[in-house]
């Protein structure tokens, strides 16, 4: 922290700033207008993810505007001495996949990025904030942000997850219970033995969707799992320097007797594979449940407009809802372990006729690691397309889009109206293995039944 501003906000130093092609090029323009420079270019890293095609990334990109956005990012980063993880360098990928896997994301850091899913990095015990373009400008120019203090809600999750229930189901369940605006004004700190047992990739899935719950950021205390994950990563010190860093990181963990503005408890054993039925991530139910009715849903208008958009019926089972597209990828579920989990169950199954199924690794490193294990072959022989890394159909700013009112079983994080590139397209959020099950059945299905995971 640097100090306090006149209006009472705090000026906070940003240890790490990540930028991408959609929200950042305009900020360089703003700097130019004001005759300002980038203050600490070594603390900023760039990648290209949102607009990048996942089939051919040959330059110039087929889409003129996408090509221009990429060029502006290339020029701006070159001009200001900012490192850019360009395609084909082996380091490109979705910004929230790249930061952790390179080890740029480290405990105790303040991190920001012009992207709401910056919350992901909170899994490492970071304060990680999504910001707007004017704030990207502020950080480029000053390495600081003006901020209001945050309240903290502790979300305790205890107990063993049932087989076939994943970190994605946990966070969808939390949002279902607390609502899409339940977190406004709060940072969400996740804790409890369920979280402690999670791998870093699972923790990232949980923190990633904090923003869908309205929280400003997500946070998990760093522990041995965190340090083990970081050890040996490209941008993490090694040897003695690592041990020193590790001791420093451990000192950042919040104390056992820290006080919280709110505490909520969840029993992990009660969580079912969870899917959305509506147009916000809170409009979610267990896969065995029925779509709410006016009696069971608190807001009748929201229910009606969501069902109208989704072309679904109140009180109908969600299981069996036909899908035409299956998407596995995104910064929520596009990491190696997500593809491993799917590959494990997918062998011997095939995507249903008429379903377009795509698997999009979150980064070039994820792609390379998956290929080294032969995962891409398992996906391909099951009828999935294995694509190049990028955000892809998570928000469809590249050519991967829904057509008309297609229904997509998606491992991404938002089921907003029109999110996947068609103004009438419909999204059903779920975990990667649930997407695989839906792809195989051609309809929303319980992965435990499809893949015999019971017991």
């Amino acid at each position: 922290m640097v100090g306090q501003l006149e209006n009472g906000q705090y000026q906070v130093f940003m240890a790490l700033h990540l930028i991408h092609e959609v929200t950042s090029p305009q900020a360089f323009g703003m700097l130019k207008d004001k005759g300002l420079n980038v203050a600490y270019p070594a603390r900023t890293f760039a990648t290209v993810d949102h607009i990048i095609p996942t089939d051919s990334q040959a330059r110039p990109l087929a889409d003129d505007m996408a090509e221009r956005m990429l060029q502006v990012l290339e020029q701006s980063t070159a001009e200001h001495g900012i490192e850019f993880f360009a395609p084909e360098t082996g380091s490109q990928g979705i910004v929230h996949v790249v930061g952790p896997e390179l080890g740029l994301t480290q405990p105790g850091m303040t991190i920001c990025c012009g992207d709401s899913h910056t919350a992901t990095h909170g899994a490492f015990g970071c304060i990680a904030l999504g910001i707007g373009t004017s704030q990207v400008r502020d950080v480029l120019a000053s390495q600081t942000l003006a901020m209001d203090p945050l309240k903290v809600r502790k979300i305790n999750i205890h107990g063993a997850l049932k087989k076939g229930v994943t970190a994605k189901d946990v966070i969808l369940h939390v949002i279902r219970v607390l609502g899409v605006n339940g977190g406004v004004g709060f940072a969400y700190e996740y804790s409890g033995d369920t979280i402690s047992r999670m791998t870093m990739e699972e923790r990232m899935t949980v923190c990633n969707m904090s923003i869908e719950g309205g929280a400003r950021c997500g946070y998990i205390n760093p522990d041995e799992t965190t340090y083990d994950y970081l050890k040996g990563r490209e941008r993490v010190p090694s040897g003695e320097a690592f041990e020193m860093a590790r001791a420093r990181w451990a000192s950042f963990a919040s104390d056992d007797d820290a006080t919280y503005d709110d505490v909520v408890d969840f029993d992990a054993s009660q969580i079912e594979p969870t899917v959305t039925w509506g147009v916000t991530p809170a409009q979610a139910i267990g896969v065995g449940e029925r779509i709410p009715t006016a009696e069971t849903h608190t807001d009748e208008e929201l229910l009606a407009s969501a069902l109208n958009y989704m072309k679904l019926e109140a009180n109908a089972p969600i299981k069996g809802t036909a899908i035409q597209v299956a998407f596995i990828g995104s910064c929520t579920n596009g990491r190696l372990s997500d593809f491993e989990a799917v590959a494990e169950v997918l062998r011997g199954h095939h995507v249903a006729q008429g379903v377009r199924a795509i698997a999009v690794p979150g980064s070039e490193k994820v792609d390379a690691a998956a290929r080294a294990k032969g995962l891409h072959e398992i996906f391909e022989s099951a009828g999935f397309e294995w694509r190049k890394p990028g955000c892809s159909m998570c928000l469809a700013m590249n050519p991967d889009k829904l057509v008309g009112d297609e229904v997509c079983a998606s491992s991404s994080n938002r089921n907003f109206m029109g999110r996947q590139g068609s103004s009438t397209g419909r999204t059903i959020l779920m975990s990667p293995i649930m997407v695989a099950a839906a792809a195989v059945e051609g309809a929303v299905a319980d992965a435990r039944e499809v893949f015999g995971l019971e017991g």
Partner: protein
């Protein structure tokens, strides 16, 4: 006349809870390297069908042409951090947003651009929206200092985040100059963290 503390203009009511940034500005319009052209794309998919024909959205009703105040319901602006959303709102000609509540990143983005986000409780907000529907040609007078809206001789209270209100009253809603003034203190933090 708009001043630091007072805003006035006609209002348009766009109903709906949880209106997200993908609805405010669909992702395909984010393909841009400046924000200049975003105004016409505001709420595009809600306003136009696949053929580009108007669906009669409130923003396109002649009676609301030129409105500069947007009224909506709860959790307005949830979703992504895209500043394209408030930029599109501003470029469209809206300079105040009134809602029951706002998503945080959206709220912060609006503030930096100089768009006050006024919060009102559900009942008075609904009453104000209903009155505006009846007399859309009448201007609202907004006083950020007393946190009152005057409309048709009725007054409505609203609230604002204290730091935001302070910033508007002082004209320092864009914090960049203040941030830059602390160069030395920032350099000290950088040096400490780099050590």
């Amino acid at each position: 006349m708009d001043t630091k503390t007072k805003r006035s203009g006609r209002a348009v009511y766009v109903p709906g809870n949880d209106i997200d940034t993908d609805r405010i500005i669909p992702a395909r319009f984010l393909k841009c390297v400046t924000f200049d052209e975003l105004g016409p794309s505001l709420f595009y998919d809600e306003r136009f069908d696949a053929k580009g024909v108007s669906k009669g959205h409130p923003l396109d009703q002649a009676i609301h042409a030129g409105a500069s105040i947007l009224i909506s319901d709860a959790n307005f602006g949830c979703g992504s951090s895209r500043e394209h959303a408030p930029q599109a709102i501003q470029k469209f000609g809206i300079d105040v947003v009134i809602a029951e509540s706002f998503a945080e990143i959206f709220h912060g983005n609006c503030t930096t651009l100089g768009i006050p986000c006024l919060q009102m409780a559900k009942a008075p907000r609904a009453e104000l929206a209903a009155l505006v529907q009846k007399a859309p040609e009448e201007p609202l007078l907004i006083d950020l200092e007393s946190m009152q809206i005057m409309f048709l001789n009725q007054s409505f209270a609203f609230s604002m985040k204290p730091s935001t209100r302070e910033a508007f009253l002082a004209g320092t809603f864009d914090p960049l100059d203040e941030l830059l003034a602390q160069r030395d203190a920032v350099a000290a933090v950088d040096a400490r963290l780099s050590a």
